[in-house]
């Protein structure tokens, strides 16, 4: 049976650190004292001294020894929390079609009221869609239309442009282009292109729009 201080790994400080990290919750001095046998039990003073040393050891690390109401615990420092918090991130499913349509209409017809969107879509726009788009900072209220009820006018933001890697709204394809496209995704999705080597070469030589029409033509003769 190992005894306290036989090796550095079983020094009082090492044992207290192991005990604190094993428990994962605050431990009072008396609980810490209780893990020792009558033969090797240190005094509260010795435990306190070892804890102070342990706290010093943690000065340059991403953790800290903290005394809280229930005793001492080792916890993640606020400074490292941004990374630690990402351990518990959850990525929910995709956005609904309704949200995408609403966003597209705001992008192409801004400034636009909720009523305008509903008129084009033929259905009401749920409030949580607007809220979600605002929370992502993709849209914002840019003003109010001077009609009864003063409805809010929505427009897109710089965050929206940055997210989609656009310099300005003109970089979006024109409506005429959209109507002519059989399927929009393959042509516009740059990542999809890079996965297919033949296509990415074509892109390197030509601007995006040219590439799109070229492709569309290529496929027609079949």
């Amino acid at each position: 049976m190992a005894r306290i201080g036989d090796t550095p790994r079983t020094s009082l400080k090492s044992v207290l650190e192991a005990v604190l990290l094993a428990s994962g919750e605050p431990l009072s001095l008396s609980v810490m004292a209780a893990v020792f046998t009558d033969d090797d039990r240190p005094s509260d003073g010795e435990i306190g001294k070892a804890l102070a040393e342990l706290g010093d050891d943690y000065a340059e690390r991403g953790l800290e020894l903290r005394e809280v109401a229930n005793g001492f615990r080792i916890q993640v420092r606020e400074e490292t929390n941004p990374w630690v918090a990402r351990l518990w991130e959850e990525r929910p499913q995709r956005y609904s079609r309704a949200l995408l349509e609403t966003l597209a209409l705001i992008a192409y017809r801004q400034p636009i009221t909720r009523g305008d969107i509903e008129e084009v879509r033929g259905v009401s726009v749920r409030t949580n869609i607007i809220r979600t788009l605002q929370e992502r900072e993709w849209i914002r209220v840019v003003g109010h239309r001077d009609v009864p009820g003063k409805p809010a006018l929505f427009g897109t933001t710089k965050v929206f442009l940055d997210y989609f890697n656009l310099q300005n709204l003109d970089d979006l394809p024109s409506l005429a282009e959209i109507k002519d496209m059989d399927s929009i995704e393959p042509e516009l999705d740059l990542e999809a292109h890079s996965e297919e080597p033949e296509q990415s070469e074509a892109i390197a030589e030509e601007p995006l729009e040219m590439d799109e029409t070229a492709e569309a033509k290529d496929e027609e003769p079949q």
Partner: protein, 282 residues
């Protein structure tokens, strides 16, 4: 048999070797040793038999107890002992006996075959009648050993604990999903074709640069709700820029989003946000 005072689960027991652990408790008394002779108190038999993991285990015990080589079992002697156990078992009861009885039958069969004279000449090919039993015993013994080795491995919770630090704010963060620009355009295309289906909607869309300019004009008016008309024009943008701004202002006026105000003929034109109280710019 020797009762020991160690209660299972007392502090010192943890480091004690497996084979010294009491394997049975009879009338409150733990036993660390199996009986050395064949006499077993009837009420103890059941627990002893439960200490064995079946007939192979019992047979291995009998072989080891006599320090016999597993490869050279004196079948007759072992069978006699084994049958002794079975006999008592049988008196007591029970379904447990079935698997032991099968083994007894196997032993008896081997014994009888050993007694028969072997045909001369082909004894090279003739299998030792014990071969199958020995194979099974050896195979069982390997895994009995493996189970003990497994039990000796450091085990989470018993020999080590996972270290864990406290996290003050351990809440699940919802990451919003990503959108591909193509998804958005696909959605728009759907809306447009649906709107066309209904026919009565006039979907006129100005060039996006005009739309964008409309938003930025409103934005400027939010900060300063009363601005001179020409302040929205930047000569550096050139003719196209001027046209875009002009179209944007016209569209905003048409949609009653901004007001154009001229206090006197040929006077200064102001652009005013309708939200703002009609303060007069002097």
């Amino acid at each position: 048999m020797e009762p020991v005072n160690d209660q299972p689960g007392s502090g010192e027991n943890q480091t004690v070797q497996q084979e010294e652990m009491p394997f049975a408790i009879v009338q409150g008394q733990p036993y660390t040793q199996l009986p050395k002779d064949l006499y077993i108190p009837p009420d103890a038999l059941e627990v002893f038999l439960e200490a064995f993991e079946g007939p192979l285990d019992l047979l291995l015990y009998l072989i080891r107890r006599q320090n016999l080589d597993i490869l050279d079992i004196p079948i007759a002697e072992i069978t006699k002992q084994y049958m002794g156990y079975i006999a008592m078992l049988d008196e007591l009861q029970f379904e447990l006996a079935a698997e032991y009885l099968v083994m007894a039958a196997i032993l008896a069969e081997i014994k009888s075959r050993m007694l028969l004279p072997r045909p001369q000449g082909d004894d090279e090919d003739e299998d030792d009648p014990r071969a199958e039993l020995v194979r099974r015993l050896q195979e069982y013994e390997r895994f009995k050993q493996a189970a003990e080795n497994l039990d000796d491995l450091p085990r989470e919770g018993r020999d080590f604990v996972i270290a864990e630090a406290f996290v003050t704010d351990r809440k699940v963060v919802q990451i919003p999903p990503d959108i591909e620009i193509g998804d958005m355009l696909d959605a728009l295309k759907d809306v447009l074709s649906r709107a066309e289906l209904f026919g009565h909607h006039q979907i006129q869309m100005e060039p996006l640069s005009v739309r964008e300019r409309m938003t930025s004009i409103i934005d400027r008016l939010r900060k300063n709700p009363y601005l001179e008309f020409q302040m929205f024009f930047t000569p550096e943008e050139g003719r196209m820029g001027v046209v875009v701004t002009f179209l944007a202002l016209m569209e905003l006026t048409r949609e009653r989003i901004v007001d154009l105000i001229q206090n006197e003929p040929m006077g200064q034109i102001y652009v005013k946000s309708p939200e703002s109280p009609g303060q007069v710019y002097e």
